[in-house]
């Protein structure tokens, strides 16, 4: 099992060193919240800030979300768990950040928990990897020999549903949406500002939380994240009304992997699948 205290220490040591040596100007990691069960995303900018860094099983935040907030060229150190590292890779692919401006602090971890339910969420809402895909410094022992959590296993139940039942399920879930947009705001890949749904020309949908607008917002967002979602589960965790958005994102990710033979955020050499094509793509994917 992951030694959270050890990682926290390493995180502090490395953050302190990087800031002290002037290698980075900000360290994106996790900090104290109003109590222990409520840590916060944290941006340490001075050596004094390092003291506030924490790491525990509730540090679900995908810090890659904050990368685009800093001006281009800012030297940033970022703490990443497995899925988070994929987000960083995806952002590098999309040229939102440059590899050379990042010091990636990898956190291999097992046993992250949902703070609301206390449930372990390694595979259910996140991508099922334990070790970061890309890092410069590893802050703990890589997790090996553990049964790989299968990220798409949770889908079976929904795939097996009759389409009408599935529609009913999603209609009910998506109609809960209050359009607070926490999902897109928590998502490291949703960096559009403005989001299409905020546009008035064209106005894609109503602003009120009603079925048509909710559907347009979510279905389009699923498409915008197709082949880009790195399955960190942050959208679902952020959702105040507990819409299982992760299920839909997982499904789309799975389909994209099957159709285009590429998994999001695994290599900085890749190109996002929906702004790419292969002549030999099969027409079968349209059936």
């Amino acid at each position: 099992m992951t030694d959270f205290k050890k990682i926290e220490e390493n995180l502090k040591t490395e953050a302190g060193r990087l800031l002290k040596e002037g290698l980075v100007t900000v360290v994106l990691s996790y900090g104290k919240g109003f109590d222990e069960n409520h840590p916060m995303p944290y941006a340490a900018k001075t050596i004094a800030d390092v003291e506030n860094i924490v790491f525990n099983q509730y540090c679900n935040y995908n810090m890659a979300r904050y990368l685009v907030r800093y001006p281009q060229g800012t030297k940033i150190a970022i703490a990443v768990k497995a899925a988070d590292s994929r987000a960083v890779i995806q952002l590098i692919q999309e040229e939102k950040v440059k590899r050379e401006n990042l010091v990636i602090l990898g956190i291999p971890v097992q046993g992250m928990k949902n703070p609301k339910t206390g449930e372990v969420i390694d595979s259910k809402t996140t991508c099922g990897l334990y070790n970061p895909v890309l890092y410069d410094i590893l802050l703990g022992e890589e997790v090996h020999g553990q049964k790989n959590a299968l990220p798409y296993e949770v889908l079976a139940e929904y795939e097996a549903m009759d389409k009408d039942a599935r529609w009913e399920f999603w209609e009910k879930e998506l109609n809960k949406c209050i359009r607070c947009y926490a999902c897109r705001k928590a998502c490291p890949m949703c960096y559009c500002d403005p989001c299409f749904i905020d546009q008035s020309k064209p106005k894609w949908a109503d602003k009120a939380p009603q079925s048509p607008g909710n559907m347009m917002y979510h279905l389009t967002r699923f498409h915008h994240l197709a082949g880009r979602c790195i399955d960190c589960g942050e959208c679902s965790r952020a959702c105040p009304v507990d819409i299982p958005l992760y299920l839909f994102h997982k499904k789309v990710a799975k389909e994209c992997e099957e159709m285009f033979n590429q998994k999001a955020g695994m290599s900085i050499e890749d190109k996002p699948v929906l702004v790419d094509f292969r002549v030999e793509d099969s027409d079968k994917i349209l059936e």
Binding site: Y181, K185, D206, P209
Partner: protein
């Protein structure tokens, strides 16, 4: 007047209220409670700490239609929406939330700026306040004590309810409540023991402590005003903020809205829809200029509005310490901590 009913018979009370009008009460959703219009009395569920969304939507719905019109047709043909309301019962509102209605009245129901929709709803509604269960632990996010509100404050309710073991005691507070309570024959008469229990409960409510820091509204208003330009402070406070709209949407005191026109197949509707000062496009001007593009500016606006500008303009803090924004925040931003930090800044 004090009456009572067994909590397990609450659906009977609900059924009676439904006969009299519209009943809004907490119902259980997948992982939370929310106020909803009741169609099945069995659904009323009082086993909640507090609702996810505040009860403000009872008077200020997320979307309020004003005008219906046809594209290409003269304005004179447009129809204004007129509310024809039945009596309504807002059942099971926590004291801090009850307090919020009073603050919201400033904006919608005060002389000079009366919103007919708010007023109509407010007048048609009888409020059943409901004391927090003082035998259960307080949620760590709550801080209504800081705003001078207590767990069992009957003030503002028409009828105030406290829980006594497996029973619910209902006490009329206003004449409107008194009249209604008298009509509710399904309820039992309370005993003198119940009376005492009720009185004690209200008293003990004062000792049921949430987080507390001494906030004088004038002091805090001034303080926040003075640190307006302390960008470092606000940047630090907002470093984690995602600028989503959860805090404002769930807040009982946020009242910002947008006016929207939606058309489909030539039929248009003009409506008022909740907006949130945390959204980037909240302050987007028609010219394309946006005075608040940064997260820190928006978070500063939210806090300043509640704790400073509102005090300056209306003499009262626009916050009741219900803890919703903190509880719901996906990154655990805590307005209480910000106020504490601001006082020290």
């Amino acid at each position: 007047m004090l009456k009572k009913t067994a909590i397990e018979n609450i659906s009977q009370l609900a059924a009676v209220l439904m006969e009299k009008g519209t009943l809004l009460a907490p119902v259980k959703e997948v992982s939370c409670h929310n106020f909803a219009e009741i169609s099945d009395p069995q659904k009323v569920d009082l086993k909640f700490y507090n609702t996810l969304m505040s009860p403000k939507s009872a008077f200020f719905p997320h979307r309020e239609d004003f005008v219906k019109y046809k594209v290409g047709k003269p304005l004179s043909e447009a129809e204004h929406t007129i509310l024809n309301l039945k009596p309504a019962f807002l059942f099971g509102v926590r004291p801090c939330d009850v307090k919020s209605f009073e603050i919201m009245d400033i904006h919608f129901n005060a002389a000079g700026i009366i919103d007919p929709y708010w007023r109509a709803r407010r007048e048609a509604t009888t409020i059943f306040g409901y004391a927090y269960d003082i035998n259960q632990p307080v949620d760590s996010a709550d801080f209504y004590n800081t705003l001078g509100i207590y767990a069992a404050d009957p003030e503002g309710s028409d009828i105030f309810m406290v829980k006594k073991d497996k029973e619910l005691l209902l006490k009329s507070i206003t004449p409107k409540g008194e009249k209604l309570l008298a009509e509710l024959s399904a309820l039992e008469k309370a005993s003198s023991g119940d009376e005492k229990y009720y009185e004690d409960y209200i008293k003990k409510g004062k000792d049921y402590k949430t987080r507390f820091t001494c906030v004088d509204s004038e002091v805090i208003a001034k303080k926040i005003e003075s640190i307006f330009d302390n960008t470092d402070f606000w940047t630090k406070m907002s470093a984690a903020c995602l600028s989503c709209g959860i805090c404002t949407f769930s807040c009982p005191n946020c009242y910002c809205f947008d006016i929207c026109d939606d058309t489909l197949f030539g039929k248009g509707t003009r409506s008022r829809v909740w907006d949130a000062c945390m959204f980037t496009d909240f302050t987007l001007e028609a010219s394309g200029h946006n005075p608040r593009t940064q997260v820190y500016q928006r978070l500063r606006q939210k806090v300043s509005h509640k704790y400073s500008y509102h005090v300056r303009k209306y003499g009262v803090i626009s916050c009741v310490g219900c803890g919703r924004c903190t509880r719901q925040c996906p990154v655990n931003i805590d307005i209480y901590s910000i106020i504490e930090a601001a006082l020290k800044a």
